[in-house]
């Protein structure tokens, strides 16, 4: 099942402009998410949202997710946690990267166990930085209302109140470099991940 292609990709990656940009790049993202050897299928976001989703004014501001090198594969040990900002240099774009030591959805590296997530709880924005539990692969509980997220399953809520999983930073490996290439799920406080908050 793990190698089956999935619908779990951010809407922005599914729009035509994305695929036109670099099909190979897109494939590598999917490999990143669902394991090497994944068969790529063309996916679409729900039609009703495509047709009536965002107002044109906002579309004009949309930028592609940047590529950003986060860490060196060779330097990471199981249990390591690194923090970084992505996709913007903005307080709520704070993320953490962990090497879980167990295979994970979207995990990269030889053991598919390196994942990264945004650091703010998607319930009411509680700080999740520092709550990573290496023994069970969970982030949490959130210090405010006690939500927990499964880092092996795309940041899915284990128990709690968030109406969205913890946004997953899409990673890929380029040689020894671990590169952030996108965000799956809306970051708390944002209305559109792709709009630079400082702009």
């Amino acid at each position: 099942m793990a190698s089956k292609p999935s619908e779990l990709t951010p809407a922005s990656l599914q729009e035509p402009r994305c695929e036109a940009a670099d099909p190979a790049f897109l494939l590598s993202r999917r490999q990143f998410l669902f394991g090497v050897g994944a068969t790529m299928t063309v996916l679409s976001m729900p039609g009703w949202l495509v047709r009536r989703g965002m107002p044109a004014r906002v579309h004009a501001q949309v930028a592609e997710y940047p590529r950003q090198t986060i860490a060196r594969l060779s330097a990471l040990r199981t249990g390591d946690v690194l923090s970084f900002n992505y996709p913007w240099d903005h307080p709520q774009s704070l993320n953490f990267l962990v090497k879980l030591g167990e295979r994970a959805g979207g995990g990269v590296g030889p053991d598919q166990d390196i994942v990264a997530f945004n650091s703010f709880c998607t319930h009411q924005g509680g700080p999740m930085a520092g709550t990573f539990r290496a023994d069970i692969g969970v982030a949490g509980p959130c210090p405010i209302h006690w939500t927990t997220f499964d880092l092996t399953r795309h940041g899915m809520v284990v128990s709690g109140h968030a109406t969205l999983g913890l946004p997953q930073i899409l990673l890929e490996v380029d040689g020894d470099e671990i590169v952030a290439v996108g965000v799956m799920g809306l970051i708390f406080g944002y209305y559109d991940n792709r709009v630079d908050p400082s702009a």
């Binding site: 951010p10 809407a11 599914q14 405010i144 128990s159 109140h161 968030a162």
Partner: protein, 881 residues
């Protein structure tokens, strides 16, 4: 396969000029306040600057600031035009979900709105009749005429008790008032029960008999207390914002549960106590704690002196006292009510209350029982404010004895009538029951020993083949009741397996066929609902009526602190769906009943106000005030927004005043003003004397049943207990159609201890079956004469118990949150109902099931697809602290 789910990375913000509607959550008891922002799809969305959006907030916003998640947005239809809606907690509210707090359930309310391009496309849109086995569209008139013709025939030939109704108790005042006006006022049927129980009456009779109203506290009380005793629920899971907004902000928590949960993890991290009980043994835990308190003289003497009824007060006069309970046989037995000295003497001499024995049966270590007594009383030092909340794990495992012993323990600690020192239910669903008239007990075919009639056990009545027409409104019935699969078999026999099946859409031929069914001993079933209900609507129903839901018509009800709000309509019901009050009124008119000619929900609301007078949910003053101001009742309530007002509503100095808590000894009342009624229980307990009553709870009344059903470990039997889980509301009727929620729980689960799992070769993510050929089912015995007929042993020896089968499937989660020998599963999965394993033998005192005492064997089936697929389900521990 699970639904497709796309986590979006953007969401439209409501523009400045969006329409704003206030409402409250459709789901749990807490009833958080929500706002709905609506704007046409062809109008521009709001912008990120404060001046450009309806929140007046700059985006990105920040922690504890307004925000919209993509799962809080949807597209709905208003007058045929598509509109965006954003449904978010009211960030400005000062009550309930202060500071925009919400649960995962309420937080995704927007996804429940009908949108044919989402899984909500499965909504029932038109009335349907089953022809040649398939439901086919008809018009309302045809459906209602068929129902009326069959109903008239049943009533004329078989009497009121053959005409049954099974309905939600909570889906809004307008609907429940119409339902009870029909059932109790016009038809006068005793064959009536609410969604979660086989018979009418009080769910927590032990509290009631002690003089406590079960929703007397305010939410603030749960925060003001120094220590909370929480029994049979983890409010984090099931009444989330009550926990996260109140209970997490002050008191130490003592939690009584069979399994470790997130709330338990929190409690322990803050100096709280986890009492891990064996299911069904709470009574002995309460008795043991009470005994430790009395042995050490830690009881609240001053309170007891002032507020506990003396023996003269118990025995005197009319009204509520244990000599005058609704169950007269208790008086016959004379073994319950007593004064403080009598209770103390009984308890100190009662062997089952001894620490050693209680510890052995309950599984709770002795030192923890003593520690609980110390925490609740201060152990002779400064007395903390202790409050006591209970829910279904308590009262649906041993109904009467658990609730009565719980209340006695709480009263000894001085709780019940002061701020922060309260006793109450924590609640499941909201309080939407507004009755036209009481249950017609005089017509009930069931009686207890002595001369007292009792509310009919409708399930046993169906099992006995006595029901010929049943109208099911917003309830699963079979899945929610005990021995579900056996119950389904009985329904199937009486409906689909009856030879008289509709084969034509011709109305006269339909009526003729269904009357033949009725006369041959079969049953005709109508289901009113919003979705096809498995199996009641999908298999058994002859007639299906589409109901309008939350947000599709203006409705009202109270939450767990009696807070009344208007739940605004903000979009149109799909197809020909109508509010249930409308269907009732049109059916009643076809039956020739008077007084059902309502045109609007407000008509019903205003009429019902008069019937609420003097009661706990009394809102008559609101309608009285509205009339003075030239407004409708609904309009007046809309003005109160998400704050609403706590019932009973009173008038002081010409203004409406809510009632924060009941039995409030600190409440100062002047003379009643205008339509105000000052019930005694506003300031005193609800008893004849205004004092609370202590009730003895002898274990022997339950012990024979408990010993009989207790899992036989040597034969591989488990406790298979069940309960709510945070992410699923009721049967999951909405959650299974919210892709985000459905991916979290694509199927039902069963938690099993690692030791048991290893022995059975089970890993997390494996399918398992839970089965039994020993499900006890009580049959017949409606006319009880002698006291011993109330005992399980007598029923067993005299042929009133049969043995049924159950076989349900779930995905295993291996976790030490459950103890060895116990499995925990979701309480209501219609396709795989855990209640199939629950014995259909109700508490003889109250006709309430022991839902939490399911038992059965377990074996592995094979791997589920979720075991290795990272997109669905998670097997991580929930009790992370």
């Amino acid at each position: 396969m699970p639904l497709e789910y796309t986590p979006l990375d953007h969401v439209p913000l409501p523009p400045k000029d969006a329409q704003v509607y206030t409402t409250a959550c459709d789901y749990c008891i807490v009833g958080c306040g929500y706002k709905v922002y609506r704007w046409p799809v062809d109008a521009p969305a709001g912008g990120p600057r404060a001046a450009e959006n309806a929140f007046g907030v700059d985006f990105p916003s920040g922690t504890l600031r307004p925000w919209v998640s993509p799962n809080q947005h949807n597209i709905v239809r208003v007058d045929g035009r598509e509109h965006h809606v954003v449904v978010v907690p009211d960030f400005e509210t000062q009550v309930v979900n202060r500071s925009g707090n919400h649960s995962i359930r309420g937080g995704t309310l927007a996804l429940k709105c009908y949108n044919p391009e989402t899984p909500t496309r499965e909504r029932l849109l038109y009335p349907m009749i089953r022809v040649n086995g398939e439901l086919q569209r008809v018009d309302w008139d045809t459906a209602l005429e068929v129902m009326a013709a069959v109903s008239k025939h049943v009533l004329a030939n078989y009497g009121e008790a053959a005409w049954a109704m099974k309905t939600y108790s909570y889906e809004f005042f307008e609907n429940t008032f119409a339902i009870t006006k029909l059932a109790f006022g016009a038809i006068k049927t005793p064959a009536f029960s609410q969604h979660d129980k086989p018979a009418m009456g009080n769910d927590t009779a032990g509290l009631d008999d002690s003089g406590l109203i079960n929703f007397s506290p305010s939410y603030d009380d749960w925060q003001m207390a120094d220590v909370l005793f929480i029994s049979g629920t983890d409010p984090y899971e099931t009444k989330t914002v009550l926990f996260t907004e109140f209970m997490m902000k002050g008191p130490k928590l003592i939690m009584v549960l069979p399994r470790r949960t997130a709330g338990v993890a929190f409690a322990e991290s803050r100096g709280g106590l986890f009492l891990q009980v064996v299911p069904g043994t709470d009574t002995l835990l309460h008795l043991a704690i009470s005994r430790v308190i009395l042995e050490n003289g830690w009881e609240d003497r001053e309170f007891i002196e002032r507020w506990i009824a003396t023996s003269w007060e118990i025995n005197s006069g009319m009204g509520r006292g244990t000599r005058n309970t609704p169950w007269q046989w208790r008086t016959t037995w004379g073994q319950f009510g007593t004064d403080f000295q009598g209770y103390r003497d009984w308890l100190l001499g009662y062997e089952w209350a001894e620490l050693d024995r209680a510890s052995q049966v309950t599984g709770v270590p002795k030192e923890k029982i003593v520690q609980a007594a110390e925490m609740l009383t201060g152990a002779g030092g400064e007395r903390p404010k202790a409050s006591f909340g209970l829910e279904k794990g308590n009262y649906w495992s041993n109904n009467y004895l658990n609730t009565a012993s719980f209340t006695a323990m709480a009263l000894l600690c001085g709780a019940g009538n002061r701020p922060g020192q309260v006793i109450g239910r924590l609640g499941g669903h909201q309080r939407g029951w507004m009755k036209f008239a009481g249950y017609p007990r005089d017509k009930s075919p069931e009686k207890l020993p002595g001369r007292r009639k009792v509310e009919l056990d409708l399930d046993r009545w169906v099992e006995a083949g006595k029901v010929r027409f049943a109208w099911v409104i917003g309830a699963t019935w079979t899945a929610a009741m005990a021995a579900s699969q056996e119950f389904e078999r009985r329904f199937r026999e009486m409906t689909r397996d009856n030879p008289h099946q509709i084969t034509s859409l011709d109305k006269d031929r339909i009526i003729e066929t269904l009357i033949r069914r009725v006369d041959s001993g079969g049953m005709v079933v109508t289901v009113s609902d919003i979705y096809p209900v498995v199996p009641m609507g999908t298999e058994f129903a002859d007639i299906v009526l589409p109901a309008a839901a939350w947000g599709e018509h203006d409705t009202t009800r109270c939450n767990g602190e009696r807070r009344l709000r208007l739940y605004s309509k903000f979009y149109d019901p799909p197809g020909e769906a109508k509010p249930d009050w409308w269907a009732i009124s049109r059916f009643a008119q076809k039956m020739g009943f008077q007084g059902f000619d309502w045109e609007t929900g407000n008509d019903v609301f205003e009429e019902a106000a008069r019937f609420s007078r003097g009661g706990i949910l009394d809102y008559y003053a609101l309608v009285w005030k509205a009339k003075q101001e030239g407004k409708t009742g609904h309009e007046k309530l809309r003005e109160l927004g998400t704050t609403g007002i706590q019932t009973p509503i009173r008038v002081e100095n010409g203004e409406l005043v809510g009632t924060k808590r009941l039995h409030d000894s600190t409440l100062k009342l002047g003379s009643p003003e205008g339509p105000t009624i000052h019930a005694k229980w506003l300031t005193h307990f609800r008893s004849h004397t205004g004092k609370a009553l202590l009730i003895k709870t002898p274990w022997e009344l339950f012990g024979d049943f408990f010993d009989y059903i207790k899992p036989r470990r040597e034969e591989g039997e488990f406790w298979i207990t069940n309960g709510r889980i945070n992410e699923i509301w009721q049967s999951g009727f909405d959650d299974k159609r919210k892709p985000y929620m459905e991916n979290r729980w694509p199927e039902t689960f069963a938690e099993i201890h690692p030791e048991d799992a290893a022995r059975l070769g089970i890993e997390s993510g494996d399918y398992i079956r839970m089965y039994s050929d020993r499900v006890l089912i009580q049959t017949g015995g409606f006319n009880r004469v002698k006291p011993e007929e109330m005992r399980f042993t007598w029923l067993l020896e005299n042929g009133y118990i049969r043995f049924g089968k159950a076989d349900v499937q779930a995905v295993a989660i291996v976790t030490d949150a459950v103890p060895p020998g116990l499995i925990f599963t979701n309480f209501l999965e219609p396709g795989s109902p855990a209640n199939s394993l629950v014995h259909r033998v109700p508490d003889p005192i109250t006709n309430r099931y022991r839902f939490k005492l399911g038992t059965g064997k377990v074996e592995r089936i094979g791997e589920s697809p979720y075991k290795e697929d990272f997109r669905f389900m998670t097997f991580k521990p929930r009790d992370v602290g």
